[in-house]
């Protein structure tokens, strides 16, 4: 009974999310990969909001089969104790948003997560992005994926789903991800810290008291210095992707 209810909810949410997307037509940026999705999403959203562009992204970890359509619709589960009441209310709201929501959101920045083979196919049946950012491939669900190459295979579906006018933004430091270039019909832009061939390359990274300073080398060989108030190389990567979005997408 629970399984049937879950399937029904999943199906309904998918329909409502698709209806919303086809009516509102936001530019969809998907961030996928097994790590660092959150900070890249946040950096992109921050940039879009700074430019006063209407943008929103996933709340919490709503990034898979149920969470992704909820994020597209801008919903999250409420506090109702009864699961039945909770989902009836959510489906009611989802329907209202799908049919009546005003065309406000210009950019949807969505984390997309997979935890078993064929998840990607299902997620792509809900939303086809125009931009894909791939972060890294690490073995996060060993019970479902026997190798990293199988995870890469799932992500290749995402890259090959991009339209010719789309863009694949790939982490050049991850060897499996850079191989996915071959799956892309769209333009590919790479970023990285270690791979000198990256289009957007971060170098001369210095940790300072309140963050990190580094230089970005762009495809035009322009070098500029940036400072971020965050620690860790993953924030440098987020910053590189942010620059790509600012310069090549918006």
């Amino acid at each position: 009974m629970i399984k049937i209810a879950k399937k029904f909810i999943r199906w309904k949410l998918k329909i409502f999310a698709k209806a919303y997307l086809s009516r509102v037509k936001p530019l969809v940026i998907v961030i996928a990969g097994t790590t660092n999705r959150y900070w890249i999403k946040e950096a992109i959203l921050q940039s879009l909001n700074n430019k006063k562009l209407s943008a929103r992204g996933n709340k919490k970890n709503f990034n898979a089969e149920i969470g992704l359509p909820l994020s597209i619709l801008g919903l999250q589960p409420n506090n109702e104790k009864s699961k039945l009441t909770r989902w009836i209310k959510i489906l009611g709201k989802a329907l209202a948003i799908a049919v009546f929501a005003k065309n406000k959101t210009k950019y949807l920045v969505l984390e997309m997560a997979i935890d078993r083979p064929h998840d990607m196919k299902y997620l792509l049946s809900i939303v086809r992005p125009q931009i894909v950012v791939l972060t890294s491939i690490t073995l996060i669900y060993p019970e479902n994926f026997s190798s990293l190459d199988l995870i890469a295979k799932e992500y290749s579906k995402l890259i090959s789903s991009l339209p010719k006018t789309g863009k694949a933004i790939l982490n050049a430091d991850d060897e499996r991800i850079i191989l996915l270039k071959e799956s892309a019909a769209s333009e590919v832009i790479t970023y990285g810290i270690n791979n000198q061939k990256a289009d957007y390359l971060a170098k001369d990274i210095i940790k300072v008291a309140d963050g990190q300073e580094f230089k970005i080398q762009t495809p035009e060989m322009e070098i500029r210095t940036l400072k971020i108030k965050r620690f860790g190389l993953h924030h440098i990567c987020a910053s590189l992707v942010e620059q790509i979005i600012l310069e090549k997408i918006i």
Binding site: T35, K60, I140, E143, A209, G211, F231, L233, H234, H235
Partner: protein, 424 residues
């Protein structure tokens, strides 16, 4: 026979000489009280420092899911699961603390493991003193001794109960005791057992004094979510929010209290990469990694446990009022202020117990302690377990600690028993 007895004595002396280091380390007095209480039928404990709630369902479900996925049988990295640390970094950023999840955060087996690992990594033969406040968490002094250090108490100043006041740091005492041998200043904030919250100014003053002695700061913030007064509407200030202090501050957090997960033994600590590199070595030697199933549960707690914390805080706020109402009926026996944080009341004792109780399990110091005698009097006379204030250092003497983390029923029945017993 004499030869055999002498032989046994010599063997015992040899064994004793093997445990020199642990001779001065004591079991927590809270455990002693709980052990004594466990032997009394129908006893009510207001001593236990754990919340009465069970772990939230969503957290339990996440642990069961991880168990069924077959991902909890192996070690994680010593740092902890990648995904958990990513979630921790996000949570810290919400509170204005920016730490790299890859190199600056460690998942720990409960706060005391993180504290002990930190102390072991920083205590040196020539820099072995650790300043702790009194009253403060009872296990600090023992953890310092385990790490080969020497606890140095700095008293908190008792509030004037007639005014709206709180326990405050005695900076003259702190200045007098900090020196080149001071390895660290360690404190809980909000304070256990007084519930006091140190102000930003006071915390910055501590940091300044520590910097002068090249000492680190260990900030134990396990009760940071339990704030009750106006101050609670804002988030609590932490020294870990100051970027310039990140090399000087080791901040500890545990899921035990905030998410009712005491038995899961899970928490985290964070600091600058340089400090973490050293603490990690000790953490790895002590526990290899935090329990992996608990790490999965902690991830769910961070993602979905926010609403549960709000429920807990609201309930504790009500329980605090209930306990304070009962205490107001005991104004001839105790005086106290309303705690701003944590879930303890720390009333001052104004009476002498009816009997002197001597037990084999107690040290002479405990037998002579007024707070122990009151705690034992209430335990055997009213059948209510409370913690003697002496357990929290010298300035805790003449107080008892009552927990309103216990259930309403326990609080109501326990306090009613105390009133009935004392007013007999």
């Amino acid at each position: 026979m004499d030869a055999r007895a002498n032989g046994r004595r010599r063997a015992w002396q040899r064994v004793k000489s093997m445990f020199q280091r642990t001779q001065n380390i004591n079991l927590s007095p809270i455990k002693t009280i709980e052990l004594l209480a466990s032997k009394i039928p129908d006893v009510i404990s207001l001593a236990q420092g754990i919340p009465s709630f069970d772990t939230p369902e969503i957290v339990k479900r996440a642990a069961i899911k991880a168990l069924n996925r077959g991902v909890v049988a192996k070690y994680s990295l010593a740092y902890g699961l990648y995904e958990l640390r990513e979630a921790i970094e996000q949570k810290l950023a919400e509170d204005g603390m920016y730490y790299d999840f890859e190199k600056e955060i460690i998942a720990i087996a409960g706060s005391i493991e993180g504290i002990t690992a930190s102390l072991i990594s920083i205590i040196e033969p020539e820099k072995n003193e650790v300043i702790i406040f009194s009253p403060d968490y009872t296990s600090y002094s023992e953890a310092i001794k385990v790490a080969g250090g020497k606890p140095v108490f700095v008293n908190l100043t008792e509030p004037a109960y007639s005014q709206r006041d709180d326990w405050k740091i005695d900076f003259n005492d702190l200045k007098a005791k900090i020196n080149s041998r001071t390895a660290a200043i360690m404190f809980s904030n909000p304070n256990n057992p007084t519930g006091a919250i140190f102000t930003k100014d006071d915390l910055l003053k501590i940091a300044e004094l520590a910097a002068g002695a090249n000492a680190l700061l260990i900030s134990d913030e396990v009760y940071k979510d339990f704030l009750y007064a106006e101050i609670g509407k804002e988030k609590m200030f932490s020294l870990a929010q100051i970027p310039e202090l990140r090399k000087k501050v080791i901040r500890i957090f545990s899921f035990s209290k905030a998410y009712s997960m005491a038995g899961w033994r899970i928490g985290f600590l964070h600091s600058d990469e340089e400090n973490i590199n050293e603490i990690l070595k000790v953490h790895d030697s002590l526990v290899t990694c935090a329990p992996v199933i608990a790490q999965h549960a902690a991830m769910a707690a961070l993602d979905f446990g926010g609403e549960e914390i709000i429920k807990f805080v609201n309930e504790f706020k009500n329980r605090r009022e209930i306990m304070l109402n009962y205490l107001s009926e005991l104004s001839d026996f105790f005086e106290c202020q309303s705690p701003l944080g944590s879930y303890y009341v720390f009333p001052k004792i104004k009476f002498k117990p009816k009997h002197k109780i001597v037990l084999d399990v107690l040290t002479q110091r405990q037998i002579d302690s007024p707070s122990w005698q009151v705690a034992l009097d209430l335990l055997y006379g009213a059948k209510v377990a409370v913690v003697p204030g002496q357990a929290f250092g010298p300035a805790g003497e003449n107080h008892i600690r009552l927990s309103f983390g216990r259930s309403r029923k326990d609080i109501e029945q326990g306090m009613a028993r105390i009133i009935k017993y004392l007013k007999q």
